[in-house]
């Protein structure tokens, strides 16, 4: 049975405009319908034909279930009205592969680097620093010209938590594990050794809990 002589949408009994979820649902429904223990096939399709149909259904879904392959297929179907087009799965996959290789991002994703003037004194202080208190974290953040809002936007940590971490305001901070996670995030954003910073900070933090 040559599958490409059938329309994949017809096989899945899905509308060409249906979204991916509807395609998946149609596929599930078709698989149940053409499993051979379905009494509705009785006297119409025998076991072998049911297997053929399932194969067709799987093939149809292998294309329509994938957004990229589906769009290639749709294009080919539209073209096939006026000219001869290879609608086989392998042809579709081949085209998808070529498309993937040709694809180059039209603009590279621009990551905004914090603008700051390097200060050798501060840099060496950061290297030497052993005690990472909230206060020192703040001074590094300010040195790197990252506002609290900007920090919050990058790390997705609420700005009130960032302030509380810098103030070591225990009352306004969540459970210990979260605080450690937040500190790691902040340290990474500032380009610091996150493990060293977090370990040291948490020591201060525990002391202030006592």
């Amino acid at each position: 049975m040559e599958a490409s002589s059938y329309n994949y949408y017809e096989i899945l009994e899905a509308h060409p405009h249906s979204d991916q979820l509807e395609i998946s649902r149609a596929y599930e429904k078709m698989k149940v319908t053409y499993s051979f223990d379905n009494p509705a096939l009785y006297t119409i399709f025998n076991a072998e034909e049911a297997r053929d149909l399932i194969r067709l259904i799987e093939e149809a879904y292998s294309v329509l279930g994938n957004k990229t392959l589906r769009s290639i297929y749709d294009e080919k179907i539209a073209k096939s009205l006026t000219q001869k087009v290879d609608l086989s799965v392998s042809a579709i996959q081949q085209q998808a592969l070529t498309m993937a290789q040709e694809f180059k991002p039209s603009h590279s994703v621009h990551i905004e680097k914090p603008q700051f003037v390097a200060d050798p004194e501060m840099e060496s202080a950061m290297r030497e620093q052993q005690d990472w208190s909230g206060e020192f974290l703040r001074s590094v953040r300010e040195y790197k010209q990252v506002s609290v809002e900007k920090m919050s936007e990058i790390t997705k940590i609420g700005s009130h938590y960032i302030r509380a971490i810098e103030d070591m305001d225990v009352k306004n901070l969540p459970a210990v594990v979260f605080v450690r996670g937040y500190v790691i995030q902040i340290a990474r954003t500032l380009g610091l050794d996150d493990k060293k910073v977090a370990d040291s900070y948490m020591k201060f933090y525990r002391d202030s809990l006592k």
């Binding site: 949408y9 009994e13 509308h15 429904k29 319908t33 009494p39 509705a40 009785y42 006297t43 119409i44």
Partner: protein, 301 residues
């Protein structure tokens, strides 16, 4: 008056055709339509039992044999707006044609006329069903009923396709179906394409079937899987014959229905709030909705 004529059919006896007819009629009358139920099952009339009535002396067979006009046969029931014509055994020849029946029926003052048809298919009955407004096919979720439903659908479609209904055309379609079923299905499963390529029959009639599809009612649902049967049969018909049937209703199995049958009661009168009653109400509303066939059947692709 131009009454809507609905036929309730089944490929196999005992799937609940008369039960559906009687109770659908009851629901329709509750919706405020005047309804006439006709028991046209000449081989085993039992609508009166489903309605909890004793059979009257004059019945459908008197009409078929030309002894009485239709109007004299109408019996009222205890339900407002609901009347019926009882069935009787009739094995003789009838001079009444389907065309006569339809024109006689259309003159009766009812909104809806629901015909409980016979399981055995006569050409006259097929014609009668074909000329009506709706066709309901009742089936049950069991292999023998399913098998016979497909055979019934084939018969009906053959009749519909050979709409000029010369015997020759009928035979041609019948043969095409037979051949189609027996041919090794190498590449196409599609009956529509098959009749076109092999028998030169134009497939315009398939469009007609699309406008007035067979409405499938699955009666006696017991397992969740049975709920898929209607959809599955629709899919199978689409893939195999390339025409649409409309799985319109799933009626679940209810022991109380059987019980009320035994007590010769009308089920919906004794159990007006059962799930079956709700389902039949939905069915009635769907079928009576204006332009139902246009809105419901959206052609795929």
């Amino acid at each position: 008056m131009n009454s809507q004529i609905w036929s309730v059919c089944s490929g196999k006896g005992g799937v609940g055709k008369s039960f559906v007819t009687a109770n659908l009629g009851l629901v329709m009358s509750k919706l405020g339509y005047s309804v006439l139920i006709i028991d046209a099952d000449t081989s085993g009339a039992n609508i009166h039992t489903c309605l909890g009535l004793t059979p009257p002396a004059k019945n459908w067979s008197h009409y078929l044999s030309g002894r009485e006009p239709l109007v004299n046969l109408i019996q009222s029931t205890s339900v407002p707006h609901l009347s019926y014509i009882a069935g009787g055994n009739y094995f003789g020849e009838t001079s009444v044609t389907a065309e006569n029946v339809i024109s006689d029926l259309r003159q009766l003052p009812f909104d809806y006329i629901i015909i409980d048809t016979s399981v055995s298919q006569s050409t006259m009955q097929l014609e009668l069903i074909r000329r009506g407004n709706e066709v309901l096919l009742v089936t049950a979720p069991e292999p023998s009923a399913i098998e016979k439903s497909y055979r019934w659908i084939e018969q009906y479609v053959a009749c519909e396709l050979a709409s000029d209904s010369t015997l020759e055309a009928r035979l041609k379609i019948d043969r095409a179906l037979e051949d189609f079923r027996n041919q090794p299905r190498g590449q196409l499963f599609n009956f529509r394409r098959y009749v076109k390529s092999e028998h030169g029959i134009t497939p315009d009639h398939f469009e007609k079937l699309l406008r007035k599809p067979v409405r499938l009612v699955v009666n006696g649902i017991r397992t969740p899987n049975d709920n898929n049967l209607g959809f599955s049969m629709k899919s199978v018909c689409q893939k195999f014959y390339d025409f649409l049937i409309d799985p319109v209703s799933n009626i679940e199995f209810d022991n109380a229905a059987w019980q009320s049958q035994r007590n010769k009661e009308v089920f919906l009168m004794t159990k007006p709030f059962s799930p079956i009653a709700g389902e039949l109400m939905n069915l009635a509303k769907k079928l009576t909705a204006r332009n139902f066939s246009e809105t419901n059947m959206k052609a795929v692709v």
